[in-house]
Amino acid sequence: MTAKPAQSEAVIRVRGVRNQFGKHVVHENLDLDVFRGEILGVVGGSGSGKSVLLRTIAGLQRPAEGSVNVLGVDVLKADEDTSAALEQRWGVMFQDGALFSSLTVRENVEVPMRAVDGLDPRIRAELADLKISMVGLPYLAGEKYPSELSGGMRKRAGFARALALDPEIMFLDEPTAGLDPIGASAFDRLIRSLSRSLGLTVFLVTHDLDTLHAVCDRIAVLADRKVLVTGTMQEMLKVEHPWVHEYFHGPRARAAQMQSPGGK
């Protein structure tokens, strides 16, 4: 069922990006392509700038140098209208859902839809209910406030909000961090099945080797301030770089590999 990105249309194209905080350089001359319809997993050690890269592509962090092109739009040079239109074509799920705490889950999911002109409020609420149900939350969760939900449910609700406008690209920041193994693997399956049936391109930042095995078509490794290598899991196993080797051959990696269905 792996839809290989044969047509190879790069929906995200990052070139020569440099990010630094004070004297600390996080990225230097970083290049990355993400192709339409694929699920790209971004891995790297703590502090290697995975989330910074996500924030850079999503326009939340301005790089010191370089260009970021998403869906044919230069994110750094786009005017306000263009970037507002672009933002409706991608969804971002933050680590803990980043739900608005003063709104119910349903209202949270409705927030992006409010930007759509002439959408009937009743239909909007029903669409929100549908999205909530699509991410596997019970109907009554829509009435609840984020503080009344468990961590896993908050993540699902954050996913539902990111899905609200049927985005073409989905950014996921550590979707399975802090979930129990059952919840994490259920979330993996959810990401996989929804992104396939909705035709999403997914940019997924993770530490979770099981997620990499179960969900990702391609993996990009961040190390030494750039994207060191990209490729499938099989290709990753052959990389000689010490950190990459350690990462994909460590005891946890072996356990994850054994559990993945057929070692995809």
Binding site: L119, I123, E126, D129, L130, S133, L140, D166, S193, S197
Partner: protein, 364 residues
């Protein structure tokens, strides 16, 4: 009836932007006959469009009629599948009507929570006093460094704003007083006016209000954010008593600092008044001082400053209490912070009014 299915052909984009129109059209469709849906000319279909189509299918099939779709792309098919599978099963929540007894219940609960709030404040005051007593018995548990730090935060750093505020109040009083008193040729009484009003009331009251604004909110925010990040729970598991570690140094710092700040405010207010009287009425600073010493009883200063510890307790206890009421969401932190300022200012003013009545009755 309904042997020939009604053919519905759709074209264009069926997306969230057109779903209102689509739903309006489809909902007019009678569900009494079989429907055949033609999607050949549909360019884009998203979940919103699929939602509307599946809703139609459910209506038609719910009426026991046949429904089929032609001309779907595989992508659209999988989307329709997902929407069908995850169709929300609505669980009705009965809306309740409000009756008179509900209204009474609400009033009763409000009164109850008001009383409970006052009891809670008292219990926090008791907790503070108990821990303070304990720190006399077990001086090693007392956090001296923390006390010094809070004295600096609460006292030293508030000196500029308090001094400036009191100085301006003195100026205003002298100016307003002189215009009124000049009508009676009694300009010189402006000294008594300034001295009594600042020393007895305004110096300490306005200082307390400023301190309530900057310190009660700081207490609430600090304790509240510690509670949010489970630092208080961590303290308890490590055998550290939050009341001892957090409340005692803070409230004690306020108890020490508020009288000093009040004294600074008194001095600065008198200076402001004296300068304005000099500029406006030609009362020289020497004359101001002489008149101040001769005519103004030093008891006024004590009447003013005796209130300071009470105000300090109110501000400190309310600030700490509100911090402990913060829940796990950021919204409650903001709400409790503003609550603590409003409540402590209000309580300070109420206490001041009670002091005034008391002193008037006692003839002080």
């Amino acid at each position: 009836m309904g042997e020939v299915p009604a053919r519905v052909a759709l074209r264009g984009d069926l997306t969230v932007r057109s779903v209102t129109q689509l739903e309006e059209t489809l909902s007019k469709l009678e569900a009494s006959g079989a429907v055949s849906l033609d999607l050949t000319d549909v360019r884009r279909l998203d979940t919103a469009g699929a939602w509307s189509l599946v809703a139609l299918r459910r209506r038609v099939e719910g009426a026991g009629q046949k429904f089929d779709v032609v001309g779907v792309t595989p992508e659209a098919e999988s989307l329709l599948d997902v929407v069908t599978k995850s169709w929300p099963s609505v669980e009705e929540v009965e809306p309740r009507k409000r009756s008179l007894s509900d209204l009474l219940e609400i009033v009763g609960r409000k009164v109850g929570s008001g009383v409970g709030f006052l009891l809670d404040l008292t219990s926090y005051l008791g907790l503070f006093l108990a821990r303070l007593g304990r720190s006399f018995l077990h001086p090693r548990e007392f956090r001296f460094t923390s006390l010094v730090h809070h004295c600096e935060e609460v006292g030293l750093k508030a000196v500029p704003i308090v001094a400036l505020m009191a100085f301006l109040i003195g100026v205003v009083l002298a100016f307003q007083g002189s215009t009124q008193l000049r009508q009676f040729g009694a300009e010189v009484f402006v000294v008594d006016l300034i001295a009594i009003s600042i020393l007895r009331e305004l110096g300490i009251l306005l200082t307390s209000i400023i301190v309530a604004g900057r310190t009660a909110s700081a207490f609430t925010a600090a304790i509240g954010s510690m509670k949010m990040r489970e630092e208080l729970d961590a303290m308890r598991t490590l055998g550290i008593d939050p009341a001892m570690a957090l409340f005692v140094p803070r409230i004690l710092a306020l108890l020490f600092m508020l009288p000093i700040l009040g004294l600074i405010a008194n001095a600065s207010g008198l200076i402001g008044g004296a300068l304005m009287s000099w500029a406006d009425l030609g009362i020289s600073p020497e004359m101001f001082a002489t008149r101040l010493i001769e005519n103004t009883d030093v008891a006024h200063v004590f009447v003013g400053l005796v209130k300071a510890p009470v105000f300090a307790l109110i501000i400190g206890v309310v600030g700490c209490y509100a911090g402990m009421q913060v829940q796990s969401n950021a919204e409650s932190l903001g709400r409790m912070t503003s609550n603590s300022v409003v409540i402590s200012i209000f309580a300070v003013i109420v206490a001041d009014a009670m002091f005034s009545i008391f002193f008037a009755r006692m003839g002080i």
